[in-house]
């Protein structure tokens, strides 16, 4: 299966830095809205929620790239690093707003991580992303070889932790968290679809 030519061409013309720029504008734009009172009565909670969901969405987008190429032929591989790093940057903002603007104290943060299981899990996910962000350079990819691929499979764990962290803090809602889980499980499951072997030519005449 091949995507339409115009789509392939269009995607090829999109510069990778647009992902970083878009992420920065989105982060800054939301923060400015919060600053100017355009994000409702509880801007701190709203920023935390939006950044958190943004990071989850970005991680899911990253998870979609491989199956998208395999099952539709659309190749977005060259955006993958930017998508993953953007997810990491958004997560940094999520954590920063929580620690600096909401809790406003390191001791409170310590208590939260120790006593609130959903925050423990969220922090674990964040910590696991750090080595992935650090090894996202071309040099690391070259140096680590096969180990790089193995290490970066941690994103599967991170995304499940991220979902659990999000689902756990929801109050009352059921449908949206389950929709997220379904999408994540499908994207993970597609990786286990066996590849068709090339047909064996038994009756090749010599």
């Amino acid at each position: 299966m091949q995507p339409p030519r115009w789509l392939q061409d269009a995607v090829r013309r999109v510069p990778v830095w647009l992902i970083y720029l878009g992420t920065a504008l989105w982060l800054g734009g939301l923060f400015a809205m919060a600053l100017f009172g355009r994000l409702g009565v509880d801007p701190v909670a709203e920023l935390i929620a939006q950044y958190g969901k943004g990071a989850l969405n970005m991680l899911i987008a990253g998870l979609a790239i491989t199956p998208l190429r395999r099952f539709t032929g659309l190749n977005l591989l060259r955006f993958r690093r930017a998508v993953g790093l953007s997810a990491f940057f958004i997560l940094c903002a999520h954590l920063a707003v929580f620690a600096v603007l909401d809790l406003q104290s390191l001791s409170r943060l310590g208590v939260e991580i120790a006593e609130r299981p959903f925050i423990t899990i969220g922090m674990l996910g964040f910590v696991l992303l750090i080595p992935l962000a650090l090894t996202s350079t071309d040099r690391a990819i070259r140096k680590m070889g096969r180990n790089w691929t193995k290490l970066h499979r941690l994103t599967y764990v991170v995304i499940l932790l991220g979902w659990l962290h999000y689902e756990w803090q929801v109050r009352g809602e059921v449908v949206e968290p389950l929709t997220y889980l379904t999408i994540i499980l499908i994207l993970l499951g597609l990786r286990f679809v066996p590849r068709k072997r090339a047909p064996l030519h038994k009756n090749v005449s010599l």
């Binding site: 919060a34 600053l35 100017f36 009172g37 355009r38 994000l39 409702g40 009565v41 509880d42 801007p43 701190v44 909670a45 920023l47 603007l101 909401d102 809790l103 406003q104 409170r108 208590v111 939260e112 006593e115 609130r116 299981p117 959903f118 756990w168 803090q169 109050r171 009352g172 809602e173 059921v174 449908v175």
Partner: protein, 304 residues
């Protein structure tokens, strides 16, 4: 019977209505003449940036609500509650009472003294507001309907209008919303039935036309838009306890020492104070220490 309790927050803590009304007019005028960018003239920006102990503005109180029948997000009730029908409101009174039956609002509360009560409101989600309610003491209403011997609990039910409540059928919820108090809690002079805020009738999202306010308990105990009151001998189920008894107890007293599994109850974020409003420590019984004798001898870690 009324005036058995005196505010610790006073009018001085409340932004006079004229001031925030004027402020909005000024901003609206500025917008009209092109002095302010339209993006900066919304209600949130128009609200004064106040110190932590001042009451929230009417705009804030009306735009940040939990009323799950209208949606899960804080802004949903303001958006969707307009369709709720509150005309010809009737309240069914039943159970261990001398005067059971269906009451109009006027029959139930007409002639009772309406007081202003400026209360702190602490949500179990660890945010808080200060709200100047107008209401009557629940004890006065209970006296009117005649509580019989043997009654130990007061149960309340919220209206359920599936056609007017977009989230009434939400999976995972269990409507109609029900709540209850022990009789001595219900009779405490702090406990009111509110009919207004800032001398304006309650907006639908705030629980029009009549709601409970129990300021020393987490907000979900203060049930909105009440259509049924029953006096009972046994403790009735309550909505959040039924959904998750591990997280929500029957008593739900504000208590910084009993942690909710998901939210720290040691501190709270006063909403409306903006991006840098910060936190403050949560007070036992939300600062209403006078209710402590109600729980003498009880282990509040067990009866949370």
């Amino acid at each position: 019977m009324a005036h058995r309790w005196t505010n610790d927050l006073t009018r001085a803590d409340v932004t006079p209505k004229s001031i925030f009304a004027n402020r909005r007019q000024v901003l609206a005028a500025m917008a009209a003449t092109g002095f302010a960018a339209p993006a900066f003239t919304g209600p949130a920006f128009a609200a004064p940036v106040f110190a932590r102990d001042e009451a929230n503005t009417l705009d804030q109180i009306r735009s940040y609500n939990n009323f799950y029948e209208f949606g899960f997000q804080k802004e949903d009730p303001a958006r969707n509650a307009g369709q709720m029908v509150t005309d010809n409101w009737q309240i069914e009174v039943s159970g261990l009472v001398d005067n059971p039956g269906t009451y109009t609002l006027d029959e139930l509360i007409g002639g009772l003294t309406v007081e202003e009560r400026i209360y702190r409101l602490r949500c179990v989600e660890a945010w808080s507001m200060i709200i100047p309610w107008n209401g009557i003491e629940l004890a006065d209403v209970l006296a009117r309907i005649g509580v019989q011997d043997g009654a130990r609990y007061v149960a309340f039910e919220t209206t359920l209008q599936p056609d007017n409540m977009p989230n009434a059928g939400a999976y995972g919820m269990d409507f109609p919303y029900v709540e209850a108090l022990r009789l001595d809690e219900a009779l405490h002079p702090l406990t009111i039935l509110a009919t207004g805020i800032y001398d304006e009738p309650l907006a639908n999202q705030n629980g029009a036309p009549i709601r409970l306010v129990v300021p020393w308990k987490y907000g979900f105990k203060s049930i909105k838009s009440i259509i049924r009151i029953s006096l009972l001998a046994e403790q009735p189920p309550t909505t959040w306890q039924r959904i998750d008894s591990h997280e929500y107890g029957f008593y739900a007293n504000v208590n910084p020492t009993v942690n909710h599994p998901r939210w720290s109850q040691a501190s709270e974020r006063p909403v409306g104070a903006g991006l840098f409003g910060g936190r403050r420590d949560t007070l036992m019984f939300n600062g209403y220490d006078e209710v402590a004798p109600l729980y003498a001898g009880m282990d509040l870690r067990v009866d949370y």
